[in-house]
Symmetry: C2
Subunit: 440 residues, 2 copies
């Protein structure tokens, strides 16, 4: 007999018509072709317009039944191990810290099929406690969905909205803030929020999951429990990314928001601090272990003025052999106010691009240099290509990550009174985005 | 008394006028401002229009005396340890293998001040034996300068010329080929030559140096001796990059030309194989240690038809939050025939870019997806952004490096008879640029 765990309404009716149930291998027609997978259960709070298939790759796909061209049951499979948690969920104790959880879309704190694009109803704290009962031992969580956007669709205006909601939560007296986000552009958002939320008196912890929560190898629960624990209890403040670290299933790394990069498409430990150690590690067994000195301290009742505005007209350009001048010119012609270059090596582009930069800067543009090497530091004094770029006014960004440089340039252009001030702010290390030179 | 090691003619006269000699700390006026450094010796074969300063950073700069606005001697320093080697140089034995060394510019096999932009006279084997006497024990080298170009200025037409010269050297009966190149775009060139020189019957070894040869930590000699040894003696054929590996000063890694990336701006072990092991290691003590199975074998008298043509109208675009459609449109409008995207995560761009790709591909363009994560593999079947891109005709390049993908797309467009054939060639692994899927 077919098992319809979590399916209801329209999607239940859709499955009944095809006599397919949870655990069965099914074939569905989509606009991208035929997809085969195992029908997996849904959470009780999900909508009734999607079904979820686990593919042989181990990934789940959520599919809108309105867009499907039929479903055929191929064979009955094992019922997946996942069982939706029982209701009613546990309740947290009154003495626990208050942690706001702001959802933006992404694998964590959404439900299994978060990527369907369907608009989910706002998740409640009861739902989260039901999904992850452990959370009720850690904090009194206050979840809200700010928006539900695939992280590749996040724009600077989304950063502004997140920053505003964080400051509302801070004003509302929470002890810490967790932001859940898709992994794709998590590094960009973390950098942007670091600049927008300078001097935030609490920990603001971005987190995500590389594997959805019904997979045995999922990092969703560990990352969220780690993020909520750090947000609620850490002695430091500031913006960090909390993600699974290393080979074990036990440890979460806390990366500075300006120094973190997604370095693997699918591994759980994809996020790495570049050029510095992670700020801290967290595990259930060891608690919080701080690795960087000089982190800002958590403050009570402190003044805090977020600066949530960004200038979106900034481009990130990776230099490549034969890069055409027309590409750069099109930026200038479309009103771009800033360009961050990922140059080669110590910070170079080809000679015929240099006149573009001279013109762009003469007309008030902001042009900055990072390196596509990712590791190391630009040094534009060594070779004459670099010196010519410096002479044109291109700003060397030392060891700043290109993604951080983009977010910073967008923030600086919206938070400075003149191009001179903007250039000067780009050169300074405001939030750990540039580290001191060391010998290597 | 001033010491003028290696300076002669105009540059000697210039120094005499300022009473500054080798080892002195001097200040020079340049168009980029005042530079302070220690005057270092020059090789006896260098031109007489440049002086070379060692900066406090440890880097050398070569400066054209014609562009200098004066020189002031600040203090006398220690004479640097470097002493130009004595003449006459040793001669190699007749039974040693013949190795062509093709110079393109860059730190290695040029002289100390290679980056001045001055056109050097062709380097002779006598000069190289004089600089690195050890080479005379390894091979009968046949050096020639193809061109002298900073590697950030290398264009697809340079790749074509290198490929042609390699095939001339092969036809001329050498036992192996070494190509010296600047480090900045070495990875791009290595990938390009791998496609152009498929089925080359000999080892073709690209090498470079991250630190110039007068610095105590220079990797120039090790890399060149390693490259010449492998080119002369290895049992395998194909295109590889030979660069310093690890912490010691003893070992050179041989990276597949399609799998290598410059991952650090200045470290000697900046070059890394991504997604695979280096093909082999070489050291003076251990000789050659092969790490990858299935390398093509060296062949005698084999047919070999290089395919040296490239289509330069291909762009590499790194996706970033708020990437404007105008940027993509400007590519299409300027006649671009192919676009390689560095998408986020598993291979995504924002939704509003997708219609561009649909139009670009409908009009016969080649669009391919890689990931800015660098490690891991694109998988566009998981989320609907990816599926929409697939449905538009964007080609997922699995775990191909973006730099390799650019070179391959340029090669494929010049070596296929139809866009369908080009697309099919992009999907196939021709030279190890895509590896088999493995679980992680």
């Amino acid at each position: 007999m077919a098992d319809f765990d979590g399916y209801r309404g329209n999607s239940l009716e859709f499955l009944r018509r095809s006599e397919a149930g949870v655990g069965d291998v099914v074939e569905v027609g989509t606009e991208w072709g035929v997809i085969t997978g195992t029908l997996v259960p849904r959470y009780q709070y999900d909508d009734d317009r999607h079904i979820v298939l686990k593919l042989s790759s181990g990934y789940n796909v959520g599919l809108s039944i309105d867009r499907l061209k039929g479903l055929t049951r191929k064979s009955s499979g094992e019922r997946p191990a996942f069982v939706p948690p029982p209701s009613p969920p546990p309740s947290p104790k009154e003495e626990l810290p208050r942690v706001a959880i702001l959802g933006t879309g992404g694998t964590i704190a959404s439900r299994v099929d978060y990527r369907t694009g369907a608009v989910h109803p706002a998740i409640s704290s009861e739902e989260l406690y039901a999904l992850i009962p452990e959370l009720s031992e850690v904090a009194r969580i206050e979840p809200q969905i700010i928006f539900s956007v695939y992280s590749e669709n996040i724009e600077p205006e989304n950063w502004s909205r997140i920053a505003e909601r964080v400051s509302e939560a801070v004003a509302g007296g929470v002890d810490g803030v967790v932001i859940t986000h898709g992994t794709d552009t998590l590094g960009y958002t973390a950098a942007a929020l670091t600049f927008a939320l300078q001097d935030v008196p609490l920990p603001v912890i971005l987190t995500a999951a590389q594997r959805s929560s019904d997979r045995p190898s999922s990092d969703a629960v560990l990352n969220l429990v780690g993020a909520v624990s750090v947000a609620g209890y850490a002695s430091f403040s500031g913006v960090y990314v909390a993600m699974h670290e290393g080979e074990s299933d036990a440890r979460v790394a806390l990366h500075l928001g300006t120094r973190v990069r997604k370095n693997h498409t699918s591994a759980r430990d994809a996020f790495k601090s570049v050029g510095v150690s992670p700020a801290a590690f967290w595990s259930r067994r060891e608690g919080l272990e701080i690795k960087l000195e000089g982190l800002p301290q958590r403050r009570r009742g402190a003044n805090f003025s977020p600066k949530p505005r960004f200038e979106a007209r900034v481009a990130l350009m990776k230099f490549f052999p034969s890069m055409p001048i027309t590409l750069l010119d099109s930026l200038a012609n479309s009103g771009t106010r800033g360009v961050v270059i990922e140059g080669t090596g110590l910070g170079h582009v080809n000679s015929r691009s240099i006149p573009f930069f001279r013109r762009f800067i003469e007309h008030g543009g902001l042009a900055c240099m990072t390196s596509q090497c990712i590791n190391g530091r630009v040094n534009m004094n060594v070779y004459d290509t670099g010196r010519d770029l410096l002479s044109a006014g291109v700003i060397p960004l030392e060891d700043m990550l290109a993604e951080t440089a983009l977010a910073k340039a967008m923030w600086v252009l919206a938070n400075s009174n003149s191009i001179e001030e903007a250039r000067s702010m780009m050169r300074a290390s405001l939030c750990g985005e540039i580290t001191e030179r060391t010998l290597r």
